[in-house]
């Protein structure tokens, strides 16, 4: 110890002359990244509840906020919004980081004085707060910062060159690793469930894929959908359009995962897994007309309820549009057979090559308790433009059926397809394959009224058609078909400006100055289909009711105004397979209810 030790500490007195460092106003602003009070852009938020799932303190609950501008329960938006309880929150910001839409953020505000702790529960964005417009605060740190996979596991496909000339299925399906990786991306929000017409348990079967429990997966599938092999390939997957994972990255491949489950299980094991070895059969008899998805679905569920079902089909095999409309490179016939054979094995009778006319219908009415019609839309609609009555102007639906039936069809060197829907793409790509096999080169052009961005066909259909060599030139209205010496020369079109008028009614407007000519030897019309209800006699028709679009009106059990007559499928909803499956299932429940209440 020295004199220095006694004197040196007194240097601290130098601080007397310094400015104090304490803040005059302690209510300072938080740093730009500060994790302060929450903000939510309620119009971007879709109420998926992922924030609730990740919140470790259970501080977030999803509550309905109907009636607030920008929030509405609709397809892809649950109408729920997160309510945050600041009595539980720890401001870790994981809810912000995981938010599927990035609508949830935090402001840098950190002062909120209340006397009642209950006030600390609030719905950001709905309950207006002073910090709602603070720009600063915690946000998702970087575009490539994620808590779940953003990119789809790519699906093995045949290359365009390989698949271009054959009708072999070109989507290879997932391997186990790929399927589990893809299933891992699911956030289990359930936004997809209500959007799926059949309300399939999508998060549940994806979970089954993750856990590699295929049997459970199959049970989940069959609870709402008796055609999983088919749907797993050609469903219009409305679920993927609303998938919350797709908000930032690529939507989950829900359809391929469904196919993966069904592909894993051989048909022999279905009875055991689904517990349908012994099903009770009662005395009620139901006739179903048309072996399309709606009738198959209705017959499946009715069989499980113990009713005897007979399906009457005009053609030689079951499946309807799925077999005769969809080309086999998308949906191979053996997969259709797998699903249908299982339904048949439950005791459903199939009567093929039987055309039901008015007399037959009345006969069926007498011999059965209920008649269900699901004859779908199988009459092609014509554009009616000059020249469309030429013999080389075809309906896509007829051609597709003939291809399936193995009949020879005309395959000229130049083909024009009118239409922008999935059926138009199907015939385009089928013609591509036939041309390639016959000539080794492709000249198929598809045109549609709708411009590229609003084409009704699935996006991948358009992309794949182009990959295979077809030309897709949308946004043109057909004017006339030029015929010289009884032979088709091509199609005149002019630019389509808009399709609907201000009342959303179909009323296309054209720019007659902007013209084009597509050379063709053959024109295929694919602008939609109509139904054929010639089997309904005038007497019956007078007892039935129709809506302005000509569709039969039914109640929510899909029962027409004649109690014994139920209707389903594309005739009332859709058109697509999944709607048919869904309303077939609903009709089955309706029929069961009707039969039980009749007693």
């Amino acid at each position: 110890m020295s004199l220095k030790d006694i004197l040196l500490p007194f240097k601290a007195w130098a601080n007397v002359a310094k400015e104090p460092v304490s803040l005059k106003n302690p209510m300072r602003e938080g740093a730009p990244r500060y994790r302060g009070f929450h903000k939510n852009d309620i119009e971007t938020c879709i109420g998926c509840g992922t924030c609730e799932a990740i919140c470790e303190n259970e501080a977030i609950v999803m509550v309905p906020v109907e009636g607030v501008a920008g929030v509405e329960t609709k397809s892809g938006d649950s109408g729920l919004r997160p309510l945050i309880d600041y009595g539980r929150c720890c401001w870790c910001g994981l809810c912000v980081d995981i938010c599927t839409t990035q609508s949830l953020t935090m402001s840098n505000e950190h002062t909120w004085v209340v006397t009642d702790p209950e006030e600390l529960k609030f719905i950001p964005g709905v309950d207006k707060k002073t910090w709602d417009n603070n720009e600063l605060g915690w946000k998702k740190p970087a575009p490539n910062y994620h808590f779940y996979g953003q990119e789809r596991v790519s699906m093995g496909e045949l290359h365009a060159e390989e698949r271009g000339d054959s009708f072999i299925e070109f989507v290879k399906g997932y391997s186990k690793e790929q399927a589990q990786l893809e299933a891992d991306r699911c956030v289990e929000c359930g936004i997809c469930t209500a959007t799926c017409p059949a309300h399939m348990g999508i998060p549940e079967y994806i979970k089954a894929v993750r856990n590699n429990d295929m049997e459970e997966g199959l049970r989940v599938l069959y609870a709402t959908n008796p055609l999983p092999e088919i749907c797993g390939r050609i469903c219009t997957h409305k679920c993927e359009d609303v998938c919350s994972v797709g908000q930032q990255g690529e939507a989950l491949s829900i359809r391929w995962l469904k196919r993966y489950i069904a592909d894993q299980i051989p048909s022999e094991k279905y009875h055991e897994i689904l517990d349908t070895q012994n099903i009770y059969k009662g005395d009620k008899k139901i006739a179903l007309i048309g072996a399309g998805p709606a009738s198959l679905s209705a017959a499946y569920y009715l069989s499980l309820m113990g009713h005897n079902c007979t399906i009457y089909e005009k053609l030689e095999k079951a499946g309807g549009m799925m077999r005769y409309g969809i080309p086999s490179y998308r949906l191979p016939y053996d997969q259709i057979d797998k699903d249908i054979n299982y339904i048949e094995s439950l005791g459903v009778q199939f009567v093929y090559n039987t055309n039901v006319d008015a007399a037959k219908l009345m006969e069926l009415n007498k011999t059965h308790d209920v008649v269900y019609i699901g004859t779908g839309l199988h009459l092609g609609r014509s554009t009616g433009i000059p020249g469309s009555d030429h013999e080389h102007v075809f309906q896509s639906i007829d051609l597709l059926r003939k291809i399936t039936q193995g009949e020879e069809i005309m395959v000229p060197e130049k083909v024009v397809v009118i239409g922008g829907g999935n059926v138009a793409m199907d015939i385009t790509r089928s013609m591509v394959r036939l041309q390639k096999a016959k000539y080794g080169k492709v000249h198929v052009l598809a045109t549609s009224l709708e411009s590229e961005d609003i084409m009704p066909a699935d996006r991948e259909e358009v992309v794949e058609a182009r990959e295979e060599g077809a030309i897709i030139d949308p946004g043109w209205g057909p004017k006339s078909i030029e015929i010289v010496d009884e032979k088709i020369k091509g199609l005149h079109v002019y630019k389509c400006l808009s399709i609907f008028d201000e009342n959303r009614r179909f009323s296309p407007k054209f720019d007659t100055e902007d013209k084009k000519f597509f050379e063709a030897d053959m024109v295929i019309e694919s602008i939609g289909q109509g139904m054929d209800i010639s089997y309904l006699s005038e007497e019956l028709k007078s007892k039935l009711t129709f809506d302005p679009r000509g569709r039969l009106t039914v109640n929510k059990n899909f029962q027409s105004s004649l109690p014994w007559l139920f209707v389903g499928g594309d005739m009332v909803q859709g058109p697509d397979v999944i709607h048919g499956i869904a309303n077939g299932h609903k009709a089955a429940i309706g029929i069961d209810y009707y039969l039980n209440s009749k007693k």
């Binding site: 040196l8 500490p9 601080n15 740093a31 994790r35 470790e56 910001g93 915690w138 979970k207």
Partner: protein, 394 residues
């Protein structure tokens, strides 16, 4: 020793029994029982020492904890791997980043994730900042226990400066929640290094001032030199780690011995001393305070400007980690700080066990060290061991 030293009559004090420990007969009315804590300005956090005094000398001490127990280890067993981190940090209030690191590293080791280079640099920076802010509290805090309050105020201001930088970088002042399994949650903001350097300059100045104020202070020396000496043979016996072990002559530093993150690329040498009294234990922290400042400068000068800062992880909502166990340690300002995690293949950890330096140092070591000490030195001794009760009761 000094002129005024009077040899007291030891016959009235308790005598050692057969096992070498003092025999204290409480019914003899010769002793006073005194509780220091659970609320006491000399302790960080809440713990109590039950003291038995003969005069002003301690003849028996017992550590009592449990005032803070929130069962975090148990709570983490109910949380997803991502969520557990936000809970684990609360096991040490004063230096939460070490918790973040050991937790995330355990998860990464068990699931086989390699974090990006950039994340390693940022993590090291954050860990050193965290050590720095902890030293800024405990170095002058040692003076505070002897009544030298002015240093504490300086230190607190310096610490606030570092907390400002933490706020800017991580979005939080105390609980940063900035690491995440797979990396970190953001890059350095614009101008961060410049502002950090300004703060480090002020801390440089503080280091000199605190040297003059404390370590060249006759009173402070009188109170700390040769008080509560730790015998080197105790280090292994009691599981002593960190600055306390280094002051007793053991060159043990997790950053050097088991290099993690990018510590092997940094240039530093652990400071070792040979006589572990309160003065030297505090002094060694003062050296490490300088070392931390130096390391932060090194990291900021050498770290990459940009890059990926988070490795992809499986979907955190159902992230399952296969069965396994891992023990990960890091050097906190108090020494070896480890986390033992056991997984069972589910989405949640089976067991998480934290090993903090205070677990041994503030229970069995402190209880034995206090015997024979003067009552006025109790909190000096506690602070010199850098006691942190939350890591005892977790």
């Amino acid at each position: 020793m000094s002129l005024f030293h009077i040899e007291s009559d030891r016959s009235k004090y308790p005598q050692p029994g057969d096992d070498g420990k003092l025999v204290v007969d409480l019914d003899s009315h010769k002793y006073v029982k005194l509780w220091q804590g659970p609320n006491h300005p000399g302790v960080t956090g809440n713990m109590a020492i039950e003291l038995t005094l003969a005069g002003d000398e301690i003849v028996q001490a017992k550590t009592h904890v449990g005032y803070l127990h929130r069962g975090f280890e148990k709570l983490i067993e109910r949380r997803l791997f991502l969520q557990g981190m936000q809970t684990s940090i609360r096991m040490c209030v004063a230096e939460p980043d070490t918790n973040e690191y050991v937790y995330c590293q355990c998860v990464e080791e068990l699931s086989g994730i390699e974090i990006p280079e950039m994340a390693k640099w940022i993590r090291t920076l954050v860990l050193e900042m965290s050590r720095l802010q902890s030293f800024l509290r405990v170095v002058p805090g040692q003076g505070g226990t002897t009544g030298l309050g002015i240093g504490v105020q300086w230190g607190m201001y310096m610490r606030e400066l570092i907390l400002d930088r933490f706020e800017e970088l991580t979005g939080g002042r105390i609980y940063h929640m900035y690491f995440t399994p797979g990396g970190v949650r953001g890059l350095l903001p614009q101008g961060f290094k410049k502002r950090m350097e300004e703060n480090l300059k002020e801390i440089d100045d503080f280091i000199i001032r605190i040297d003059d104020l404390m370590y060249s202070n006759a009173v402070f020396k009188k109170r700390t030199v040769d008080v509560a000496v730790i015998n080197p043979s105790w280090v292994d016996k009691y599981g002593i780690v960190g600055p306390v072990a280094r002051s007793a002559g053991f060159n043990r530093d997790v950053r050097k011995d088991y290099p993690y993150l990018i510590y092997d690329q940094l240039d530093f040498e652990p400071k070792v001393m040979n006589h572990s009294d309160i003065y030297n234990r505090s002094r060694i922290r003062w050296y490490e305070l300088q070392q931390s400042v130096d390391l932060i400068r090194q990291i900021m000068a050498r770290m990459p400007e940009n890059g990926d800062f988070k490795a992809p992880t499986p979907n955190v909502l159902h992230w399952e980690i296969p069965k396994g166990e891992a023990y990960v340690r890091a050097e906190s300002s108090r020494g070896e700080y480890g986390l033992y995690m056991v997984t069972d293949g589910s989405t949640k950890p089976r067991r998480v066990n934290l090993r903090g330096p205070s677990y041994t140092q503030a229970v069995c070591l402190l209880e034995d060290m206090l015997v024979g000490a003067n009552i006025a030195d109790v909190h000096s001794i506690m602070v010199s061991l850098q006691t942190c009760p939350p890591e005892i009761e977790r």
